[in-house]
C-alpha cells in the first residue's frame, strides 16, 4: 500500500485550488442556463431590432482582443510572481487591471447606447436574454476587478507571502475562465447574431 506516500498527499494549496475549481465549474452551469435561455429567445424580437441591426462588430472584436490580452498578461504575472520578480508581477497585474477596466467600460458604453436608443431589456425577449447573459459576464468581470484591487493592496501591505501567491493563482484561474466564457458569448451571441 503506497497510497499515502508523501508525494500523493494534497497540500493546502492543492485543496484550495481544487475547491475554487469546483466553484468555477458550477459557475459554468449558471452560464449554461443563460446561454440556453438566449438560444431559445434569440428570434423573439417582438417586432423590434435583432442582433443584425444592433451589433457593431469591429467594436466587439476590439473588446474580445482586449479581454484575451488581459487574460494572457494575467498569466505572465503569475509566472513572474512564481519566479520571485515582484516588480514584474506587479507591472503585469496593473496591465491586467487596466485592460479589464477598458473592457468593462466598453461594455457599459455599448449597454448605454442600446438603452438610450430605446432597446433596453424591456424591448423584447431577445434583448432580455441578451442583457442577462452579457450583463452576468460583465458582473463577473467587475467582481474580478474589485478582487484585483484588494489583491494589490494585500501584496503592498503583506508582500509576496504564500497566501498572496495562492490568491494570485486563484485570481488567474477566475480571469482565464471568464475569457473562455467570453469566447462563447462572442461566437454565439455576436457572430451568429450578425450571420
Amino acid at each position: 500500500m503506497n497510497s499515502l506516500a508523501s508525494d500523493q498527499v494534497m497540500t493546502k494549496n492543492d485543496k484550495t485550488v481544487l475547491g475554487f475549481w469546483i466553484y468555477l465549474m458550477t459557475d459554468v452551469i449558471l452560464f449554461a442556463t443563460l446561454f440556453a435561455t438566449y438560444a431559445v429567445l434569440r428570434n423573439n424580437t417582438f417586432g423590434g431590432p435583432s442582433g443584425k441591426d444592433l451589433f457593431n462588430m469591429p467594436f466587439v472584436l476590439t473588446e474580445t482582443l482586449i479581454l484575451l490580452t488581459s487574460s494572457f498578461v494575467c498569466g505572465l504575472s503569475v509566472l513572474a510572481a512564481r519566479r520571485g520578480s515582484k516588480n514584474q508581477a506587479q507591472m503585469w497585474l496593473s496591465l491586467t487591471f487596466l485592460l479589464g477596466m477598458v473592457f468593462i467600460l466598453m461594455e457599459i458604453s455599448e449597454f448605454h447606447r442600446l438603452i438610450v436608443d430605446g432597446n433596453s431589456w424591456q424591448r423584447s425577449g431577445f434583448l432580455s436574454a441578451f442583457f442577462t447573459l452579457v450583463g452576468t459576464h460583465g458582473a463577473h468581470i467587475t467582481v474580478g476587478l474589485i478582487w484585483l484591487v484588494v489583491l494589490r493592496w494585500q501584496m503592498f501591505t503583506k508582500g509576496f507571502t504564500d497566501s498572496t501567491l495562492r490568491r494570485l493563482t486563484l485570481f488567474s484561474l477566475f480571469w482565464h475562465f471568464l475569457d473562455v466564457v467570453w469566447i462563447f458569448i462572442f461566437s454565439i451571441v455576436y457572430l451568429m447574431g450578425v450571420a
Binding site: Q8, L18, W21, I22, M25, T26, V28, I29, A32, T33, F35, A36, T37, A39, V40, M57, L61, T64, L65, L68, T69, S71, F72, G75, L76, L79, R82, R83, L173, H176, F177, D179, V180, I183, F184, F186, S187, I188, L191, M192, V194, A195
Partner: protein, 115 residues
C-alpha cells in the same frame, strides 16, 4: 525549476498566439459570410470549441495534474450536466414550438394525421 517556468511561459505564448489566430479566423469567416446557414453555425461552433480547448489546456492547465485527477473529473461531470441542460432545453423548446406555434394544418400534414 527554471526549466519548468520557461516551458510554462512558452505554453502561455502558444495559447495566446493560437487564440489570436482562431479569433481572427472566426471573425473573418462570420463577417464575410464565407459559409451560409447551418454550415456557418457549425464552423463558428467548431472554432469556438477549439479556442476554448486551447485556453483550458494552456491557460487553465486542464489535464496537467498528477494522478488522482480531480479537476478533470469535476470538469467532465460539469460537461455532462451542461450537455443535458442546454441540449434538453433546446430539444424541449423546439418540440413545443413545433406542436404549439405552427399552423395546425402543417403539423397534421407532417404527422400524417387525416380527418
Amino acid at each position: 525549476m527554471n526549466k519548468e517556468s520557461h516551458s510554462s511561459l512558452s505554453s502561455y505564448l502558444l495559447g495566446f498566439m493560437l487564440s489570436l489566430l482562431l479569433t481572427g479566423t472566426v471573425y473573418i469567416v462570420a463577417t464575410r459570410h464565407l459559409f451560409d446557414g447551418g454550415g456557418l453555425v457549425l464552423v463558428i461552433m467548431i472554432l469556438a470549441l477549439a479556442q476554448a480547448l486551447t485556453q483550458l489546456m494552456l491557460f487553465l492547465h486542464l489535464g496537467q495534474e498528477t494522478k488522482p485527477r480531480w479537476k478533470l473529473g469535476v470538469f467532465l461531470f460539469m460537461l455532462m450536466v451542461l450537455l443535458i441542460l442546454v441540449g434538453g432545453s433546446l430539444w424541449i423548446m423546439q418540440n413545443l414550438n413545433y406542436n404549439m406555434a405552427m399552423p395546425a394544418t402543417d403539423t397534421m400534414k407532417d404527422e400524417r394525421i387525416y380527418r
